[in-house]
């Protein structure tokens, strides 16, 4: 592109500067629009004999089928339930560690993030072992003490799904509100208190409204992600015949499959996501939310009394116990048992399950290698793509930026299984079908917006003057990028890379319809091993957790994680 002799050096530089970010944006849009169009076209086709005809029959079926209505209602319940619990819990945790003097709050600030990196599917499995009716560790332990057998809470229910989703999506809310809480000018709350407002009235009328942008963003992402999650309902409610939208998409793809109806359903879910995203953008753009005034201020730290401290610590301990300690403990006990009967017998404890999945079963070995390959390659390509997109969104002047930003953010809300379905339709008759490449592309398409947001946040904090001064001193655009911007962006790039690595290691929804023999991932292997032995599943889940915790530890070492 620089070989054109008619271009002046300045135009050459502008071409390179403009084209690279545009390529990033173009690839991102193609990754979204391509499969989406494939799904849309497939949803409008109906086969009569061997001939496809354009028809709206798949959509009219959507409106009339009671099973779909039930599934949609259940997903709505799951989404709203998880959103509500996560909002309360996430805001409370963020408030405790950022606005109170609770002891150990710096440590708690980090610990609260651990569930963000865990797989909700693994959490669901852990909770099944903990409280499965009549046979969970809780029931058997208490039963032994009291000499009775009892059913306990029903984890195989929508309430069970909401519970698990809430535990693992609370950190999303926490991340969205902790920064505004830390940066909020205490003068707003002081003014309310001076005028006679009680503590709770101040929270309700001042603090929460000022947190509204963060809360609304968190609520939307938790609602859409919870309603669209495939694996937790599969683990918990499938045995009770409780269907949700993602499990219904999965059922439609299974033999005798109806890809037309599945595609129509996927388009319907995507349309809901688009409407919700647009509504959120419109709502937030109407109001101003200034939480930092021009005056110097000091964030208020509330001195808790003994009772308040105990309550705050109890909330923290309870959250960490239920989201991390107890499910992991249950997985460890099951993984160490040769035959799981609901009771742990230390006398028979063995490492055989670990040995089997790590050394003896070729599928799990291959799955671990595949997941590592997908995570490392996918995270690298994803960060490169997101870096270019961020540059376009923050640095390039364009009248379409807002529109492009909205398009590039779409995968955040599209359920993994729906995107996986679109990619299946897109690739089934191409050489990509059944390869690791299609999984890699689907992963990047589904999750690059996470990286784009991380990098954009840091890029917007770096003043363009630094690049401008390098350019003024004769550096080319490429040199400016290499020696000025990229070193400054490095923490964000590393954080984005680790985040994608972690997400790809635990990914299931986007893999379930695209894997083939030899391209199984860790999460797929867990699903396949569940036909074999729960001990193997628990062992592999723990191996996955070790990989995720390693990622989490590395994430904490990056400077940008503190900013986030």
């Amino acid at each position: 592109m620089n070989a054109d002799p008619h271009l002046t050096p300045k135009k050459k530089r502008m071409t390179l500067q403009a084209s690279l970010p545009l390529i990033g944006v173009g690839v991102g849009i193609l990754l979204i629009i391509g499969p989406f169009l494939a799904g849309l076209i497939r949803s409008l086709l109906l086969w009569v004999g061997n001939d496809p005809q354009v028809s709206l029959a798949n959509y009219s079926w959507l409106l009339t089928d009671t099973r779909i209505r039930t599934a949609a209602l259940n997903s709505l319940i799951c989404g709203l339930g998880a959103m509500s619990v996560s909002l309360v819990l996430g805001t409370s945790l963020a408030w405790i560690v950022s606005r109170t003097n609770v002891p150990g709050r710096e440590t708690l600030r980090t610990l609260n993030l651990i569930p963000f990196f865990f797989s909700p599917y693994v959490g669901a499995i852990g909770w099944i072992f903990l409280i499965a009716p009549y046979s969970g560790l809780m029931q058997t332990s208490l039963g032994s003490l009291l000499g009775v057998s009892f059913e306990g809470p029903n984890i195989y229910s929508l309430a069970g799904v909401i519970w698990i989703l809430s535990l693992f999506y609370t950190p999303y809310v926490y991340l969205f509100v902790i920064s505004p809480l830390q940066r909020m000018d205490a003068a707003f709350e002081d003014a309310a208190r001076v005028h006679g407002a009680s503590f709770w009235t101040t929270i309700r009328l001042v603090t929460l409204p000022l947190l509204q942008p963060g809360l609304l963003s968190a609520a939307l992402i938790v609602f859409v992600t919870s309603a669209g999650l495939f694996d937790v309902p599969l683990a918990l409610t499938a045995t009770k015949g409780i269907r949700t939208m993602p499990t219904e998409v999965f059922a439609l793809v299974r033999y005798p499959s109806d890809l037309g109806r599945a595609a129509a359903f996927g388009i319907f879910i995507t349309a809901i996501t688009i409407v919700l995203t647009l509504w959120q953008r419109a709502h937030l753009s109407k109001r101003r939310y200034e939480i930092i005034s021009g005056k110097g201020y000091k964030p208020r730290v509330i001195e808790l009394r003994t009772t308040g401290t105990l309550i705050a610590l109890a909330i923290e301990v309870l959250y960490l116990l239920t989201s991390v300690v107890l499910p992991v403990l249950a997985l460890v006990l099951v993984a160490l048992s040769p035959l799981w009967t609901g009771r742990f017998n230390p006398a028979t404890a063995t490492l055989a399950n670990f040995s089997y999945v790590l050394f003896d079963y070729s599928l799990t070995r291959q799955a671990i290698l595949n997941s590592l390959f997908l995570a490392v390659t996918g995270a690298t390509l994803g960060v490169m793509l997101s870096g270019l997109q961020s540059y376009y969104l923050i640095r390039v002047r364009s009248g379409f930026k807002s529109f492009i930003d909205a398009i590039l953010a779409l995968p955040l809300g599209i359920p993994g299984i729906v995107l996986s379905l679109f990619f299946l339709i897109f690739a089934i008759r191409t050489p990509l079908y059944g390869t690791l490449a299609i999984l890699l592309i689907a992963y990047i398409a589904r999750f690059f917006p996470f990286a784009t947001r991380t990098i954009s946040a840091m890029l917007s904090a770096i003043h363009p003057e630094l690049e401008e001064s390098a350019r003024a001193n004769g550096a080319t655009w490429a040199q400016t990028m290499r020696f000025v911007l990229l070193p400054l962006l490095r923490p964000a790039l590393i954080a984005a890379w680790i985040m994608l690595f972690i997400i790809f290691i635990r990914e299931l929804g986007a893999s379930i319809l695209l894997y083939a023999s030899g391209t199984e991932t860790i999460s797929i292997a867990m699903l396949l091993l569940s036909e074999n032995s729960v001990g193997y599943v628990a062992a592999l889940a723990l191996i996955q957790l070790v990989l995720l915790l390693t990622g989490f530890s590395l994430f904490r070492l990056t400077k940008v994680s503190a900013i986030q």
Binding site: A238, T239, G241, V253, R254, Y255, P256, T341, E531
Partner: protein, 365 residues
């Protein structure tokens, strides 16, 4: 080009070597009792399989630990080195059919061989040309099964069969009944599982058979007792082991056998009303990536050696002529079974879908 050239020379050399070295062939168990022509043919197939280097097979029953035993025996049977790879995938019947249908649509078959307890689908797919025509010499021992509608000569036959029948944990539940009706009467409401017909082709097949013997009212009574729906046999056994359920009506004898070997005390019974026999139909795909390795596998799995391993490790019921079960309590001899007669070849996929819709209307999962 050069690589292909050298590879073909290598294959030719191996074939020639096999043909002129009957002494080598005599050393392998597979060649036992063969005449010179059969032996030469076998050695050609072995040489071609070695050149292919691998076999991909999938099954809905065989556990990975059993696969390890099978693969070891398979290599010994043909004198294959450990470098010959056998890739095995355990799938549920629904997942396997979905995968295979997708691969057939994509014209990219990744499996060489599969075995599945879904006879209607197998008959239909054989008619569409999805399977390789290979008349294994072992088919001679399965002629009675083929006459009984459990295979098509030269295309597929069962490598074993099983039933989805009631199982329970004797340490938790005291049951002494003999029929499906006894079992339903004894089990407490909400404390039993049944096979999920929507998720699993084999459970659908079982329902299609049982529905004819037990009548629709039996299942309506069952629905009133609020069962749990389980698509995977391991999960139904696990729920019995831990005491979540008192009985699994769609239990798998293989899982009972394997759990009991680890110290559990699970029990099954073959109900007096009869039961649906699920033949694990095994076949080679027409576009298998390793057709010669696949032929060796079919010969092996249908042989006395392969059948013994499947019966002993997986409690599969062998239909091989003259075969005696090593565990008759769990996997009785084929000739002693009271099987509900169903003509799987005549039953269409549409009929199965009607059964599935009926099941859904009764249980409303």
């Amino acid at each position: 080009m050069k690589i292909a050239h050298f590879a073909s020379i290598g294959v030719a050399a191996l074939v020639l070597g096999g043909a002129i070295c009957p002494a080598v062939a005599q050393d392998i168990p597979a060649a036992k009792g063969m005449n010179d022509i059969e032996r030469a043919s076998l050695m050609q197939t072995i040489a071609a399989a070695k050149a292919e280097g691998a076999l991909n097979y999938s099954d809905t029953i065989i556990q990975p630990t059993t696969n390890d035993v099978l693969v070891s025996a398979f290599r010994s049977y043909y004198g294959l080195a450990n470098t010959f790879t056998v890739n095995y995938t355990l799938l549920t019947s629904g997942a396997m059919i979905t995968r295979v249908e997708q691969e057939l649509s994509a014209n990219r078959i990744t499996f060489d061989v599969a075995a599945i307890g879904s006879p209607t689908w197998t008959f239909e797919r054989q008619k569409t040309g999805a399977f390789l025509n290979y008349r294994s010499g072992q088919y001679d021992f399965y002629q009675d099964a083929i006459k009984a509608g459990l295979g098509v000569d030269g295309y597929f036959v069962l490598n074993g069969g099983y039933a989805q029948i009631p199982i329970w944990n004797t340490e938790i539940f005291d049951f002494k009944g003999k029929s499906y009706k006894d079992a339903l009467a004894a089990v407490p409401a909400g404390r039993f599982s049944i096979g999920d017909v929507v998720q699993s082709e084999s459970h659908l097949t079982t329902y299609a058979g049982l529905r004819q013997a037990l009548g629709v009212d039996y299942f309506k009574d069952m629905a009133r007792k609020k069962p749990t729906f389980v698509g995977r046999s391991e999960l139904s056994a696990q729920r019995i082991l831990t005491g979540q359920d008192m009985m699994a009506f769609g239990g798998n004898p293989s899982r009972v056998h394997q759990s009991n070997q680890k110290g559990a005390k699970l029990k099954i019974f073959y109900p007096e009303e009869g039961f649906t026999f699920l033949p694990q139909m095994t076949f080679i795909f027409a576009k298998a990536p390793h057709p010669n390795a696949a032929k060796l596998w079919i010969d092996f799995i249908l042989s006395e050696t392969g059948q013994k391993i499947l019966a002993d490790k997986e409690a599969l019921i062998s239909a091989r002529a003259g075969f005696q079960s090593p565990i008759p309590d769990i996997a009785p001899n084929f000739s002693s079974l009271k099987i509900i007669k169903v003509d799987w070849e005549k039953m269409s996929a549409q009929e199965l879908i009607k059964y599935r819709d009926e099941w859904v209307s009764i249980f409303n999962p």
